[in-house]
């Protein structure tokens, strides 16, 4: 072996040994117990809170976080908006923090990921468009839509882009992890007295929130749970069931009651009596609204029973609809009966959650002609209402109740169009995140230079500085040549 070869062999061996040593050392340093992070930004914007870290550490083994980072809403991209880059930057940094601090595996899928992998993971998680973050445990999962995590301001027709007003990724991750870490998930009782089970799509929606849906046809007098959802009923209730419902409501447990057009008169009367203290009443008739067509509003068709509740029709004050109203999201409700105020007790506050437009009317269900007829009047009508004990009692969640005049929203074909409203309502009922939004304001640093400023800065950076340095190089070269 020549001297040169020996020298090379020595250097290469030393290099390999050194590299292995450094990698082993780095492996140790990468462990969470040796890791420290210093967040120099204001309000620790790029770190998880200690609460969230503790909650994520509690997650069962084989849990993971999956992020789908795709710009999906056109309005948030328009006019060169920075919403998605900033939001994804925030999510990525917090996921990195979660991975480092808790050792939780994270999977980030973005536009550079393999389409096959994206499809596989999305199908396995049951992802629907708009959902961007999932925490998954071996048995349960929680998904977040983009608007659950970020409150944005819409672009204006004048050309101003959308921007992030506030966000709550950290709080949401922490809350979801705490829910998932619970050995028993919040149980949602789905009462369907006629034995018609709820749709699989609705069950999946509940599971996606980390809740445990339990369809049932019975409700015992002292039965407990986190939430009761009454999925319509077509016959008068049995005495056991009425006792169970009375007991549930008297104890102040939360309840979502849906009573559609097909509910018999006796059932409606029974519910109105039961809900009297809460001051909400189901009214007779079917809500209709003119259909918007190219040639103007149209009546006389069953399509008028499809109500598009625009953002202005959502309560901007109530926690369950506040975010949706701010996000300018509309909801589609089909075949609904109206709701009204009744003489309730002063212990409950009542809020209309969904309201129709001014052109709506109540159509008689006996001989519906789907147009304004004799005795029918146009006006704003309530489609959904909420009640809550006031002042707040020491009962479970203060008797939170939401009444909705249709049960069709639970069906798979209608669910996608009112999913946002439904999920936000259920979260409020179950005392979830809507109560503690944990929003953190996000400040943008806009800089819109004039054309003149841009030209000046480009001249300095592209011509001035390099030109000056090149001049020094030439001078030195010239001096050396001399």
């Amino acid at each position: 072996m020549s001297r040169k070869s020996k020298l090379w062999a020595l250097v290469v061996s030393a290099g390999i040994c050194g590299l292995v040593f450094v990698i082993l050392l780095l492996q140790q340093l990468a462990k969470p117990q040796f890791r420290t992070r210093w967040d120099l930004t204001q309000n620790r914007q790029v770190s998880l809170s200690l609460r969230s870290i503790a909650a994520l550490k509690e997650l069962p083994k084989d849990s993971r976080i999956v992020a789908f980072l795709f710009p999906e809403e056109e309005r948030l991209i328009r006019n060169g908006s920075a919403v998605y880059p900033l939001a994804f930057q925030r999510i990525l940094t917090l996921l990195e923090d979660a991975r480092i601090q808790t050792g939780l595996p994270t999977l980030v899928l973005d536009t550079n990921s393999s389409p096959v992998e994206i499809e596989t993971v999305a199908t396995a998680l049951g992802r629907s468009p708009g959902e961007c973050l999932f925490i998954e445990t071996p048995s349960r999962k929680v998904g977040f839509r983009f608007e659950d995590l970020f409150v944005t301001q819409d672009p204006t027709p004048e050309g101003a882009p959308a921007r992030i007003r506030s966000e709550r990724v950290d709080t949401s991750l922490g809350n979801a992890a705490r829910r998932l870490a619970l050995k028993t998930a919040p149980e949602v009782l789905l009462l369907h007295p006629e034995g018609v089970p709820p749709s699989e799509a609705f069950l999946e929606l509940l599971r996606g929130e980390g809740w445990q849906p339990r369809p049932t046809t019975q409700l015992l007098a002292l039965q407990e749970g986190s939430l009761l959802v009454v999925l319509n009923h077509l016959q008068p209730l049995s005495s056991d069931l009425t006792e169970g419902i009375h007991s549930w409501l008297d104890r102040g447990f939360p309840c979502l009651i849906t009573l559609g057009l097909s509910a018999p008169m006796q059932a409606v009367e029974w519910w109105n009596q039961t809900m009297q203290t809460r001051g909400i009443a189901f009214l007779d008739g079917m809500l209709c609204e003119p259909v918007k067509t190219v040639s103007g509003p149209m009546e006389g068709s069953p399509e008028t029973a499809r109500l598009e509740i625009l953002a202005v029709g959502l309560s901007g004050q109530h926690p369950s609809t506040r975010n949706l109203a701010a996000q300018n999201r509309s909801t589609l409700i089909v075949g609904a009966r109206p709701l009204g105020f009744s003489t309730g007790s002063n212990h409950f506050t009542r809020t209309p959650l969904l309201r129709t437009g001014k052109a709506a009317w109540i159509e008689s269900t006996f001989h519906p002609d789907f147009q304004l007829s004799n005795g029918e009047r146009r006006g704003v009508q309530n489609v959904a209402m909420a009640a809550e004990a006031f002042p707040k009692s020491n009962r479970a969640t203060g008797g939170r109740t939401i009444a909705l005049g249709t049960a069709l929203i639970f069906q798979a074909e209608h669910l996608p169009f009112c999913k946002d409203f439904l999920i936000h309502s259920l979260r409020w009922l179950i005392n979830g995140e809507a109560k503690d939004p944990g929003l953190v304001a996000v400040e943008a640093l806009p800089f819109r230079p004039t054309r003149q400023t841009m030209v000046r800065m480009t001249n300095i950076s592209v011509i001035g500085l390099p030109g000056f340095t090149a001049l020094i190089a030439l001078l030195l070269y010239w001096k050396r040549r001399r």
Binding site: L26, N79, L86, V462, L465
Partner: protein, 247 residues
């Protein structure tokens, strides 16, 4: 210490009066100026300057193209020229330790590379002078990360320069190592098992993009760059002293 300072001064002087180095600096400023103007033209960046450090230091061409290529061009002469001119033997037999020789040359190149970065910092000051409001924790973090990466790449370039008297090998070898350091972890970060895990931990653009450029300092990243830098400096030292070990 005195021989070290003397050599350090000599190296600094030779760098500061080299037309080649200033030419290199001019090209660096020109390309950075172009990137700077280009990124500033992004509507998303104009809508929120918080994205600027991330785009420039984190995921921009500065990191993927300029950072791995320029440090070896600066260090290529440090040992290769000594080899070529035959002055390495007298230098190593002079009353100065081999380690001091390595460190003097390395620190001189590091200090000069700060001039490269000062120019880029000047661009941010230019932006401020034109009324832009910047989050200096992000800008400072981005600079800190970029400086650490460039110091690492300088050490790799120094090692490559110590291989022989061939300038092309010194520059090409150094650049190749730097590109490998940058690309290999990215290529294998999704690999299963330990390979994927190690690759994710050694992903330099991620450390910049999701760390320094966000105003976030991680003890791991702060240890990663100096450790690898030390490795290359040690290898350079081994390369020099091995000439004595092998008869």
């Amino acid at each position: 210490m005195i021989p070290f300072l003397a050599l350090f001064r000599k190296e600094m002087f030779s760098l500061f009066v080299s037309p080649f180095v200033y030419g290199l600096l001019a090209v660096w400023f020109l390309l950075n100026g172009l990137f700077f103007s280009f990124i500033l033209g992004f509507p998303a960046v104009q809508n929120d300057l918080n994205l600027f450090p991330q785009y420039l230091f984190g995921s921009g061409l500065l990191v993927w193209l300029l950072l791995p290529s320029f440090p070896p061009l600066l260090t290529l002469r440090l040992f290769a020229e000594e080899h070529r001119l035959g002055t390495l033997e007298p230098l190593l037999s002079a009353p100065i330790t081999d380690l001091a020789v390595v460190l003097a040359k390395y620190f001189a190149s590091c200090l000069f590379f700060l001039v490269f970065w000062l120019g880029v910092l000047g661009l941010f000051l230019l932006l401020t002078l034109h009324g832009a409001e910047l989050d200096w924790s992000r800008v400072g973090g981005g600079f800190m990360g970029a400086v650490l990466v460039s110091f690492l790449f300088l050490s790799a370039g120094l090692w490559a320069s110590s291989w022989s008297g061939n300038f092309i090998l010194a520059a090409g070898g150094g650049a190749a190592i730097n590109f490998l350091l940058l690309f290999l972890p990215v290529l294998f970060e999704n690999a299963p098992g330990n390979l994927g895990q190690i690759s994710r931990q050694m992903n330099i653009p991620n450390m910049l993009d999701r760390g320094f450029a966000m105003g976030l300092f991680d003890s791991y990243a702060l240890a990663y760059f100096p450790l690898l830098t030390l490795l290359f400096l040690w290898l350079t030292w081994v390369r020099l002293v091995s000439r004595r070990w092998v008869p």
